[in-house]
């Protein structure tokens, strides 16, 4: 199940980066890997058939590229718009990964994206990290994780660097 969840997260993220932002990722190694510093992280909380959150973090090169490509801007939009673009991307990833993992009949409500805070890729109390993936692109890289409150059996093995906030 954890591998399936990670595969689903990778599929949803890749599809979203490609079609929403015209960025074309490859899957990066997470075991024992060193992670680049992240410029921004956002979290989308979901509730309903299950509860949890999806976290997306990107390096400095990805952030302006996301906004430019999503909005068709000739110049990089300002920092707030760049963060909003990342939030919308995280929202779309979340909406697409949940049915891949939990089936198409489950109903969820997604909260608006928020800053993921400190140690964004570490599980909080009561959470289990069900999936973690790394996307590498020409512009930089992205890390994504899916946490849930409803699957105590799922392992939460997380590379130490990522758990610390990459």
């Amino acid at each position: 199940m954890p591998q399936q969840a990670t595969t689903s997260l990778f599929q949803a993220a890749t599809s979203t980066f490609e079609s929403l932002a015209l960025l074309f990722p490859e899957q990066g190694n997470v075991e024992g890997a060193e992670f680049l510093p992240l410029a921004a992280t956002v979290s989308v909380t979901y509730r309903g058939a299950g509860a949890g959150r999806v976290v997306v973090g990107v390096t400095a090169g990805i952030l302006p590229a996301l906004a430019e490509n999503m909005l068709g801007a000739a110049a990089a939009p300002d920092a707030q718009v760049q963060r909003d673009a990342l939030g919308e991307l995280a929202n779309v990833v979340t909406g697409n990964v949940l049915p891949l993992i939990n089936g198409a009949t489950a109903v969820y409500r997604l909260d608006a994206p928020i800053d993921a805070g400190n140690a964004p890729f570490g599980a909080r109390d009561g959470e289990v990290r069900r999936a973690f993936t790394r996307l590498q692109m020409d512009e930089g890289e992205a890390l994504l994780a899916l946490f849930s409150h409803d699957d105590a059996a799922a392992p939460s093995a997380v590379p130490a660097a990522a758990a610390a906030g990459a």
Binding site: N91, V92, P99
Partner: protein
């Protein structure tokens, strides 16, 4: 004929993307209004004539499903052409939404998907819209 369009989405970036897509895909546009949630959308509907509404589902204050229910309960707006533009993938919820006579465009979407769905729900013909989608170099999907 031009279409007055109301875009309802809590993401300003997504509203901008949809507005840009509309301007590129050859639909004869009149005024384009925006709202960040269902309450703002009802306020816009109280002030402007709208031919087509594009609604997100997950929004704060009032979500798209409740907004749609209120639109269909309204004497003035019950026949309004509505397209749901959302990441919503639940068959259960999509069936509830379709029962209100709407079409669904799943995010992420292509300009062609949005254009063809608009033509479908508004009854516009391809001849009434420009045949080509004016996609600037480097832009393909949204």
């Amino acid at each position: 004929m031009t279409l007055n369009v109301l875009i309802v989405d809590d993401s300003g970036v997504m509203r901008a993307m949809i507005r840009r897509t509309l301007s590129l895909c050859g639909i004869p546009l009149g005024e384009v209004y925006e709202a960040a949630n269902g309450v703002e959308a009802l306020e816009q509907l109280g002030e402007h004539w709208v031919d087509l509404a594009l609604l997100d589902v997950n929004m704060p204050v009032m979500d798209g499903e409740e907004l749609l229910t209120r639109i269909r309960a309204s004497e003035e707006w019950r026949a309004l052409a509505v397209i749901i533009v959302s990441t919503e993938s639940s068959d259960t919820r999509l069936a509830r939404l379709r029962a209100h006579g709407v079409e669904i465009v799943h995010k992420p979407f292509t300009p062609e998907q949005l254009r063809n769905t608009i033509l479908q729900v508004t009854g516009l013909t391809h001849a009434a819209a420009s045949n080509d989608i004016a996609v600037p170099s480097g832009d393909f999907d949204f």
